[in-house]
Symmetry: C2
Subunit: 221 residues, 2 copies
């Protein structure tokens, strides 16, 4: 397996970076509401880009994320000023890495290491370059480059195009089961980084492997 794989492609939000690390920024503005706002924010963000992809009304991830933040704050009764909104959006550029990420990436330096995200360049760019793995990442691909969100097949096709290799030379990793399904459906090798220890989907598509964090990859490939 290790020999066949040329590119290790990682989803960003929820996979390398903990989206719920915005909780503290939320808490600092809205005491005791941080956890609820953070959870609702992520939930709506996913809903909104899924809906937009289905409706054919693409809007970049930063805009969708902002729409979702407004919804979440309203839902939790938190009055959001323009200033606070900008501050929370900036917190999204400084998400924390999951604990093992840097170490695992360091051990895989013989492969091309790629981030492939739905995040628009103005979000995913600063996030990666400002984090401690900047030097471990060889390429950042945004679905925004073709304005089609994962898990649309077109998004994975775009990533493959950027990589310039065959689809069975890609190992794709994501904590988001919908992302893994999309990648597996497209024909990538897949490892579901099941950080939430969720139950496997009862679908006719399945990941090749499932691990609770990225360390599992080191054993496989």
């Amino acid at each position: 397996m290790r020999r066949m794989i040329k590119a290790l492609v990682f989803d960003a939000y929820g996979t390398l970076y903990d989206v719920h690390s915005v909780k503290e920024a939320c808490d600092s503005l809205f005491p005791e509401k941080g956890e609820a706002i953070s959870a609702e924010w992520r939930k709506k963000q996913l809903e909104y880009f899924f809906q937009r992809q289905m409706m054919g009304r693409y809007r970049p991830f930063d805009k969708v994320t902002r729409d979702a933040l407004r919804y979440a704050c309203k839902a939790e009764g938190a009055k959001l000023t323009k200033e606070n909104e900008d501050m929370l959006m900036e917190a999204y550029l400084e998400l924390e890495l999951f604990e093992e990420v840097r170490d695992v990436l360091g051990k895989l330096s013989d492969k091309q290491r790629v981030v492939f995200s739905n995040g628009s360049e103005n979000m995913i760019g600063p996030l990666v370059s400002g984090s401690r793995i900047a030097d471990d990442i060889d390429m950042v691909i945004s679905a925004d480059e073709i304005k089609q969100y994962k898990p649309a097949a077109a998004a994975y096709a775009h990533a493959l195009d950027r990589l310039g290799i065959e689809r069975n030379e890609v190992l794709f990793m994501s904590s988001n089961s919908w992302d893994i399904m999309g990648a597996a459906s497209f024909g990538f090798h897949t490892a579901w980084i099941n950080r939430g220890r969720e139950q496997p989907e009862t679908l006719d598509i399945q990941p090749d492997r499932a691990y609770t964090d990225l360390n599992g990859i080191l054993e496989w490939i």
Copy 2:
């Protein structure tokens, strides 16, 4: 407004029919787990057809509903035999109407009254024809006829094609906000039947009207 509208188009699941009326059938098989199974079942059903639409892996609604039921039972620790699975799937053909539906439809008999659902014909057909509004419904349209789920624009375009009228002659009603957004985005007049009294979406598309049940329609048109 009343004069302009030629067809009153209703979503089925959650709008005319209460999807959570399967709760009792679930409870009869899995005591005290009915509510949780019913909630998870609907949640996964939505997730699965959204994902499939995005991935371009269409599967008919009965199959998706069955996949979701399996997930929900597993999640709630309810062991599902083939026999019980079939029994619960049949419960989906006998969902209860919301209280006001029959009365409201009766008062709108000067318009074409249409059901437009993601349900495949083998689900939506028996549901409508076996319910007390069978005589009030002039046409049933299934998104399965073109194998594209709402809220894809293609699904609303198909409904319009079947109706043979102009899009501004359609009033579309759904309790599902994603469905209302899809219909509004396509250019139908829309009324969000917000049965769950949910907060309005923070999106650049909005329904023309929002009511907590179908009675509101009688005041508007």
